[in-house]
């Protein structure tokens, strides 16, 4: 069977650097970071840590989503709803009941902001708390599906920080195999006390803005956000609306530790290599690499070693954009996929902020300034998650 190509025809994004694609691009071009004081989340850690918090309350997000309150809806679901609506509006596809449309969401914390607030209430009193049902991870995806009128295939992926990348990959594979004609794919996660405290208990949070790939890096900053795409098969996609093509994807497991990457970068190396092989590209074909680059000692060294192993002494221009958005965990793969596609669309490379001293163990160093007027044909985006779950995606310019 001839396999279909997979095109992106719409995208939407909300994060600390902007509530739509245009603002996100403007922030990236102007080196405007979204990291700062935690103002909304009620946590003791706000005196100590910074984050990439979206500066709107849940009530304000509800208004932006243009919906009435739905029982059990959490902050991450609201973010997901806003991003999916943008993507669908951007794609402006025609609804055809004969087409198979699916929804695939990646999330690691899902309704955590509600659960961490109400869990003692769930247990101690008999009031039928509306958030009880949101304790299972698909609940949130189904609220988004309902808001989009999707009633066919849907699923939720939780592979920690690579969740959204894996959701994008599954959507692309299902279209390629003819199981879906159109897929709405991406991910969402909201800033929660559980994630702040969890990463803090592992002692991998930098109280200052993170410094990916810097020798003096001290950890990551947590962010929040959602990004979604409309993927369509080449039979369905309107040529004029094609933003980019998803050409490659690869997933591999480090098989090393539940929360740490292997010192030899095995999983990241295999994910990138598998992605290249899936579309018959060579390492030299990649024009820009959006690295996972969390700013932790472990992640950046493991990823740098993997990059050197795969690309040798002349790796493509690369940067981590987490100093802009913070690490948005389960949604980071989708957030960075939008950023990768913006690089592709506008022939730009966005800077790796806060970098000054190269890592002593490796030769590679990230791009620190905005690079304009370079031809970007293929972008690779890495997501490396807990449980050693590593995914690389490749986005390419649409051939004219």
């Amino acid at each position: 069977m001839q396999q279909s190509k997979v095109f992106i025809t719409g995208m939407g994004i909300v994060s600390a650097i902007g509530m739509d694609v245009e603002t996100t691009l403007d922030s990236l071009v102007s080196s405007r970071s979204g990291l700062g004081k935690i103002r909304l989340l009620d946590t003791r850690l706000k005196e100590k840590l910074i984050a990439g918090e979206i500066p709107y309350t849940d009530e304000e997000l509800l208004q932006m989503a243009g919906i009435d309150k739905v029982p059990g809806i959490s902050r991450a679901t609201l973010l997901g709803m806003i991003a999916t609506k943008q993507a669908v509006r951007n794609s402006d596809f025609e609804n055809d009941e004969k087409l198979q449309t699916g929804l695939i969401s990646g999330t690691t914390a899902e309704s955590m902001t509600s659960i961490e607030k109400y869990l003692p209430d769930f247990l101690s009193n008999d009031s039928r708390n509306e958030y009880i049902e949101s304790q299972d991870w698909g609940f949130s995806t189904e609220i988004i599906a309902k808001s989009l009128g999707i009633n066919g295939f849907m699923t939720t992926i939780n592979t920690a920080c690579s969740s959204a990348s894996n959701a994008i990959m599954l959507g692309a594979r299902m279209i390629r195999q003819g199981r879906l004609d159109r897929a709405i794919v991406g991910g969402t996660d909201a800033l929660s006390k559980v994630m702040l405290n969890g990463f803090n208990s592992l002692m991998i949070v930098d109280p200052e803005p993170c410094k990916p790939f810097d020798d003096n890096r001290h950890g990551l900053n947590i962010g929040e956000g959602a990004a979604f795409f409309v993927l369509e098969s080449e039979q369905v996609a309107d040529r004029g609306k094609m933003i980019a093509e998803i050409t490659g994807y690869g997933n591999a497991n480090d098989a090393h530790h539940l929360t740490a990457l292997s010192p030899d970068g095995k999983g990241a190396f295999l994910a990138m290599k598998n992605a290249l092989e899936s579309c018959n590209l060579n390492p030299g074909d990649i024009s820009y690499l959006n690295v996972h680059g969390t700013g932790t000692l472990n992640n950046d060294l493991s990823e740098a070693i993997a990059i050197e192993k795969l690309f040798g002494k002349t790796p493509p221009v690369f940067s981590s954009t987490k100093p802009f958005t913070g690490h948005t965990l389960g949604s980071s793969g989708a957030i960075e996929a939008v950023i990768s596609i913006l690089a592709l669309q506008h022939d730009l490379v966005f800077p790796n902020l806060n970098f000054s001293t190269p890592m002593h163990e490796v030769q590679v160093r990230p791009e620190t300034s905005l690079v304009k007027n370079v031809e970007i044909l293929h972008v690779m985006s890495n997501s490396l998650g807990f449980g050693g779950n590593n995914t690389s995606l490749i986005f390419s310019k649409v051939e004219s």
């Binding site: 869990l119 920690a160 559980v194 405290n197 539940l258």
Partner: protein
């Protein structure tokens, strides 16, 4: 064609030790069934025994036994489905956050709190660096994993894929979902589940794994033909029609299906849909149920698939599962149809080798 060449299940029944297929049945008079867990010392070092959470042990125990059953040490890929995964650990972490006012927290429950840790743990223990995936979507969790496994076998020409469904019912989970009427309010005998005529069901759990390969042999259990899911978020989907369309796509007729496993769970809010199908589309089929043995949980269809695989290999259909007893029924094709609260509907078709 894709075959199940190994399988294992840890469930509330003595399914793990190979002492005959459903020879012994445990009767429950509680509404929360828990797994009869194996002696993990065979599978884990003392350090791992101490450190691993219960759900990680459930996952690894069944996965390892499944691999051994197929004489495979490292699978080509690992895919799991889990509705609530490691949520028990998340709850632990939340309570320690409250108790310690967000200071000096032990990271252990947080480390084991991601749904993906089950598949990650199996990858570590088997040294599998290839594809690793975890689906967490209510009644589609195991089905998504199985669909992915079938797609992957075709795409990558892997030698084998390990796929499983794992869920545990922790005490807090049981209590909170009891608040919203998921479980029956009076204790019942599980073997009389379908006679209960009341709202709510009984909570269960389990861990069932399958080793898929693209060849068959004398030890093969069954051939997996198709898996399909559809949603009914709008409440207006014609379920009977969806099932007929699925069967037609497999190029068979409903009468070619010998036995249908139905996800009946004794909840009078949701069972009428099954009874309707039993009197219409499935009126000529052999009919069976399984949740009286394992309880209701997001990945219960993995247990149903384990039953179907064993039945197809052993060519016997235990009467404890049967809802009717049509004459001259062979054991050739088995369809598993389940719906989770009339939202997530799934179909899995398996055949004898």
């Amino acid at each position: 064609m894709i075959y199940i060449n190994g399988t294992a299940s840890i469930s509330p029944q003595p399914t793990f030790e190979k002492k005959g297929f459903l020879k012994e049945i445990v009767e429950y008079t509680t509404n929360r069934f828990q797994c009869i867990e194996p002696d993990y010392e065979k599978f884990l070092s003392p350090n791992e025994l101490r450190r691993l959470s219960r759900v990680l042990k459930l996952g690894w125990g069944a996965a390892k036994s499944c691999l051994d059953d197929a004489f495979v040490s490292t699978p080509g890929a690992i895919i799991t489905g889990t509705g609530c995964g490691c949520y028990h650990e998340t709850q632990k972490f939340i309570f320690s956050m409250y108790e310690n006012d967000e200071t000096l927290l032990s990271p252990t429950p947080f480390i084991q709190s991601s749904h993906g840790s089950i598949a990650a743990q199996i990858a570590m223990m088997t040294g599998c660096s290839d594809y690793n995936m975890t689906y967490a979507h209510r009644g589609f969790s195991f089905e998504s994993a199985l669909m992915d496994a079938l797609m992957l076998m075709g795409e990558k020409h892997l030698k084998s894929v390990l796929v499983g469904g794992v869920d545990e019912i922790g005490e807090r989970q049981f209590i909170t979902f009891n608040r919203i009427g998921y479980w029956k309010t009076k204790a019942i005998n599980n073997l009389k589940l379908l006679e209960s005529d009341s709202a709510g069901t009984i909570a269960g759990e389990g861990s069932s794994f399958f080793l898929l390969q693209d060849f068959s042999g004398p030890e093969t259990y069954a051939r997996i033909r198709a898996v399909h899911v559809f949603s009914n978020l709008s409440g207006t989907v014609d379920v009977e029609n969806e099932i007929r369309k699925f069967v037609k796509r497999q190029e068979i007729t409903v009468n070619d299906i010998d036995w249908v496993f139905l996800g009946l769970n004794g909840d009078k809010q949701f069972d009428p849909l099954y009874y309707h199908l039993m009197s219409t589309v499935f009126k000529n089929n052999g009919l069976a149920c399984y949740k009286h043995l394992c309880g209701e949980y997001h990945t219960s269809t993995a247990f149903a698939l384990w039953l179907a695989a064993k039945i197809l290999k052993e060519q016997t259909f235990p009467s404890i599962l049967k809802l009717n007893n049509p004459e001259n029924k062979t054991v050739g094709n088995i369809l598993i149809y389940n719906h989770y609260r009339n939202i997530n509907h799934s179909l899995i078709l398996v055949s004898a080798r």
